[in-house]
Symmetry: C2
Subunit: 224 residues, 2 copies
DNA sequence: CATAATAATTGAGCGCACTCAATTTTTGTG
DNA sequence: CACAAAAATTGAGTGCGCTCAATTATTATG
């Protein structure tokens, strides 16, 4: 089953190096092609979305730019909008990492959480219309693959917030009885609602910052 | 400007009674027609959405059922999805009213808030796919009219929650220093996040109930 | 290497949301 | 009532997301 034909070994040693020593079974040619095409589609979609905007970009354009047929795009994402998840998943994971690193430098939990969310907002603020489309899709995925990606993203964010809360417990800022995951989710819930309000133009950035601070502080009193 | 032609008075006294003694200037024939058509479109869309589902319903079907041309539908909602707001706005306002009435019967704030949200969930639970589509659209309105409707809805919900918090202050359950609107929004934020998780199948109804209770309780400690 | 089985890709075609120039309806005015 | 201006409605047309039968590429087997 895992036997590798000789010609494959040749290619592995000479042409295709990327990902050779990654975990798991050696990739078949099929999987290689899929990964490569997926990458091209993601790159093409990202470039077009950021340059022309989500609505103005057609799936045909994405297919052309990626060098695949129109139909192929839809084997990697069930809908045009699911492409948003595919395209920005990795980037958002990184942003969450950065946000966590920045947060850890602050002394107390409230500051930490605010820095955490402000880092994420700063990312979205670079392209508000796109962020709006992206956030919309985060709450309405079509395909199973994308659903998995969203799950992973949320796990990561909740996990990082939970770590911050846990450390705060160590410092005595938060009661030991406060459940970590629930606390993390409550914090995120507040951020999420206000981000939506901002992206939809119900409040401006300043109002957002103020509201966020106020309400996170309110919740923080409960955790203490 | 507000002069009413004689033939209008005739119609007002004989044919068209509904809304005659409502506030504001007497409706012109144009406005009457608009209101009437709007009503037919809303009724047609609601029937089709609930019977066939949102995706399976075409705007042409809605137009036919309402007795208008295809294009007319889009003068009342910019997109098919904005129709969701138009259709369910009034109903959701009523649900919020019912939720508030049910909540007031409970003794303490946590119970009240849980009853409040459970009433709203019960409404959504009647048709989960539709609720999912509706909730999605609440966070992504296209037209200005619908945006106004959403604003009104949120004002109503926040207002009712704020009333509950205010009463709780009177009973000494909540600190006088806790800002009403911010408290209301934080409570709603928690509900909103978990409702989304449930509608998207990340958690089942039981898990939803438990999470909601836990996290509302957490916040409640902060308000106290 | 030949051949069958399986998976991936293709792109023409379809259905539907939405547009907009033309038409009809309503209102304001003399 | 006649007529012009304004507003509302119409529905054929358009573009695009998405499908799926046909084709091509890859893998498994003797």
């Amino acid at each position: 089953m895992l036997t590798v034909p000789l010609f494959r070994a040749y290619f592995l040693d000479n042409e295709i190096v990327k990902g050779r020593d990654m975990a798991g079974p050696v990739q078949s040619r099929r999987d290689q092609n899929k990964v490569e095409k997926r990458g091209r589609i993601i790159a093409a979609a990202r470039a077009l979305f950021t340059h022309k905007g989500f609505d103005a970009t057609t799936t045909q354009e994405i297919a052309d730019a990626a060098g695949v047929a129109a139909g192929t795009v839809f084997t990697y994402a069930k809908t045009k909008e699911d492409l948003l998840i595919l395209v920005f998943h990795d980037e958002m994971l990184e942003v969450a990492d950065d946000a966590y690193k920045a947060a850890r430098k602050r002394p107390d939990l409230l500051d930490q959480v605010i820095v955490f969310f402000e880092t994420m907002v700063a990312y979205h603020a670079r392209d508000l219309p796109l962020a709006r489309a992206l956030m919309r899709q985060l709450g309405y995925v079509s395909g199973d693959d994308q659903r998995t990606l969203v799950r992973e993203l949320m796990r990561s964010v909740y996990g990082k917030l939970a770590l911050l809360v846990e450390d705060a417990k160590g410092r005595g800022e938060v009661a030991a009885s406060s459940p970590l995951l629930a606390s993390a989710r409550s914090l995120f819930a507040i951020y999420y609602l206000h981000l939506g309000a901002m992206l939809n133009g119900y409040v401006d950035r300043e109002q957002f910052d103020r509201d966020l601070r106020t309400e996170l502080g309110l919740l923080m009193r409960g955790l203490a």
